[in-house]
């Protein structure tokens, strides 16, 4: 598979009253064309900031302190503002949890759909209207001609999310970043939107970076999964590997915290404690204060990434030896 996005050793920092804090700590991953990578982890672990770093939309007090982001092999993390802006929509598009934050309430759906088409494709208004209607059809909106003249508040939540997806897809981006796109929606509508994203991904051979805290959504849409904890990537693997052979105690904890709707006897096993704040300095593995397997080593040294044959990556000292025995060889990289 062709690599679309590559993120290497990304460090993202915020300037705050208490000094600089790191929200993303040395995170590396990649996404291929036609592939969906899901990023999961607790609230505040750095999922959104990772994605905003990729698309160059960090809050004003945030910056990429080191590392690189490459799109189709070309570095994009240090592009001048104007070029970044051109890239948005045509190469990388993003959709958010609350469509109302991204849609302009005083402009019609049609206007907001036509604008990027006219801007990037240099086509006439009539042609843009035609393509806009086509896009609305593509995302499953009934009576698209009528919708073009409506304002966002006249649409239901599910419909708005579809409009936002239509706008995001207007200029055929190679990569779609979706940050909790269905969290605010009801399950029956969520199912429609997830189907839609999956369909479009296949049809357009898009890469998708999907952020969610819902393990059910992950199982439904992901090809690969990256688990983050307190700014770090702690585990990454194929969706089968993550669900069937989770390795990091944090990932296992997350999976054990979700009630299983098909198994009435399933007992929840919560992870004790809560996510540390960004200011907190934690020696060794950042998860050790909440980890029931923590050993002396975990309290002293940061675990490197251990890789298995299955392309499964885990940062946990427990897997130093286990993996070696099981797979014969092991690459430790720092």
């Amino acid at each position: 598979m062709e690599t679309l996005l590559e993120v290497n050793h990304l460090v993202t920092e915020f300037r705050t009253a208490e000094g600089n804090v790191q929200a993303v700590r040395d995170v590396s991953f990649s996404i291929a064309k036609g592939e969906t990578l899901c990023i999961v982890g607790e609230s505040g672990c750095g999922k959104s900031i990772t994605s905003l770093s990729v698309i160059g939309l960090l809050p004003s007090n945030g910056k990429i302190a080191s590392g690189e982001v490459k799109y189709e092999g070309k570095p994009i993390h240090d592009l001048p503002y104007e070029e970044l802006r051109k890239m948005r929509g045509t190469k990388i598009s993003m959709i958010f949890q609350e469509p109302m934050t991204a849609l302009n309430p005083v402009l019609t759906v049609g206007y907001q759909l036509r604008e990027p088409l006219i801007l990037h494709h240099k086509i006439s208004k009539n042609e843009a209207t035609k393509q806009g209607i086509e896009l609305l059809k593509q995302v499953g909106i009934p009576y698209p001609e009528k919708r073009m003249n409506q304002y966002p508040h006249e649409l239901s939540g599910g419909m708005r999310q579809r409009v936002m997806i239509a706008i995001a897809l207007a200029c055929h981006p190679g990569l779609l970043i979706a940050d909790e796109p269905t969290t605010a929606l009801d399950v029956t509508i969520q199912a429609q939107i997830l189907d839609l994203i999956n369909d479009l991904k296949e049809k357009l051979n898009m890469g998708v970076m999907m952020i969610t805290h819902d393990m059910g959504v992950v199982a439904e849409v992901a090809d690969r999964v990256m688990v983050m904890y307190a700014g770090k990537k702690v585990e990454e693997g194929s969706v089968q590997e993550i669900f069937d052979h989770p390795k990091h105690p944090y990932t296992i904890g997350l999976l054990n915290s979700v009630p299983n709707i098909d198994d009435p006897d399933f007992e929840l096993e919560p992870i004790p404690g809560s996510l540390p704040s960004l200011q907190e300095n934690i020696q060794g593995c950042r998860f050790h204060p909440r980890c029931k397997f923590a050993m002396d080593k975990c309290r002293e040294l940061t675990p490197p990434e251990f890789k298995t044959d299955e392309g499964h990556v885990v940062s946990c000292w427990l897997h130093e030896e286990v993996e070696e025995v099981k797979h014969g060889h092991l690459v430790a990289q720092i």
Partner: protein
């Protein structure tokens, strides 16, 4: 009508009879009533002592309104509510006071109901000030007990709301709700805003407290996984109507209403081995101010027939202790 409870010989704590709540829609220059949002439409059910009754359904289907109506926070448009055999829907403020202690509510966002400038310990002490005549020393001791009860520490007494994490704040909300030893607690999306890891902690706490104090819960949630884990019985609502009610076991194993079937199959499963057939509903939820004729679900129902557009299906006990409102209840879609 005899209804078997999941645990037999349980006593009925709360009973709803034909409860309706309509909100007027006012419009025009004269602000005349132009119609009604039928938020809760003819709900009849009972809640047993010590049970957890889940209430599920899509946004706007009337779950919170039902909860607020039970607590007397909404005036009923029609219907009766009995609590321990006493009719409570028309009680005046003073008479209501004894029920205030017995019935409590935990909200999705406890932060919204906490004064940001008041120390948590003092906020909790106020509950005792209002409803008991404890001395200052007794109050403090009771609050410290409460903090321990919900898994917090004495050192948290002097902290302010912003110094707590989401899960800890929800524990404070729980502490406040159980302070006066209630017998009935409504949890309105009480764990929905929490991360799964923390959600699991809070669910465990609620269960422990239930066993210890024989609490009954009305557990409002849009998360059916959580409801299956937490509840004994479950009520499914659609556009203000009750469409199905059964034991968690019975309803999940054999959903009778097409909406329940679709809802259950739409939930993304946290597993890569589910091969269940997905039922995809078409279209959006209708507007509750202008609900469809006949069965409220007929506009999205995959098995709807002519009769569904015309006649509203009756609420029937289709199987023992398993109710549904559908002309074709039990048909699998």
């Amino acid at each position: 009508m005899v209804t078997l409870s999941p645990k037999s010989n349980q006593k009925i704590l709360l009973e709803l009879k034909g409860v309706k709540k309509y909100f007027p829609i006012k419009g025009g220059i004269l602000k005349r009533v132009q119609g009604h949002v039928k938020a809760v439409e003819d709900v009849s059910l009972h809640l047993f002592e010590g049970e957890s009754l889940g209430v599920v359904g899509e946004s706007g289907c009337g779950k919170s309104t039902l909860g607020r109506a039970i607590l007397g926070l909404e005036e009923l448009t029609e219907g009766k509510i009995h609590f321990r055999d006493e009719e409570i829907q028309d009680l005046k403020r003073k008479e209501k006071l004894k029920f205030v202690k017995e019935m409590q509510m935990i909200f999705q966002d406890p932060y919204a109901s906490l004064n940001p400038r008041q120390r948590i310990g003092h906020a909790l002490e106020e509950v005792f000030t209002m409803h008991t005549n404890m001395s200052a020393k007794e109050k403090r001791a009771s609050v410290v007990d409460l903090l321990h009860e919900v898994g917090l520490k004495e050192e948290h007494f002097d902290r302010y709301p912003h110094e707590f994490s989401g899960g800890q704040r929800q524990r404070i909300g729980i502490a406040r709700a159980i302070a006066l030893n209630p017998s009935f607690v409504i949890c309105d999306e009480a764990v929905s805003a929490l991360d799964v890891s923390v959600q699991a902690q809070v669910l465990k706490l609620l269960k422990t407290l239930q066993e210890k104090y024989q609490l009954s819960y009305l557990f409002i949630s849009h998360d059916l996984g959580v409801v299956r884990y937490f509840c004994d019985r479950v009520l499914v609502m659609y556009l203000g109507n009750t469409v199905e009610l059964g034991t968690v076991k019975g309803l999940f194993a054999n959903p009778l209403h097409p909406y329940t079937q679709a809802l259950l199959s739409a939930i993304p499963r946290p597993s890569v081995h589910t091969n269940t057939k997905r039922i995809r509903l078409q279209g959006d939820l209708p507007n509750p101010a202008n609900p469809p004729s006949g069965c409220p679900f007929h506009t999205r129902c995959p098995i709807a027939q002519e009769v569904c557009k015309v006649d509203k299906p009756a609420w029937q006990e289709v199987e023992p202790a398993h109710f549904a409102a559908c002309h074709f209840a039990g048909t699998k879609i």
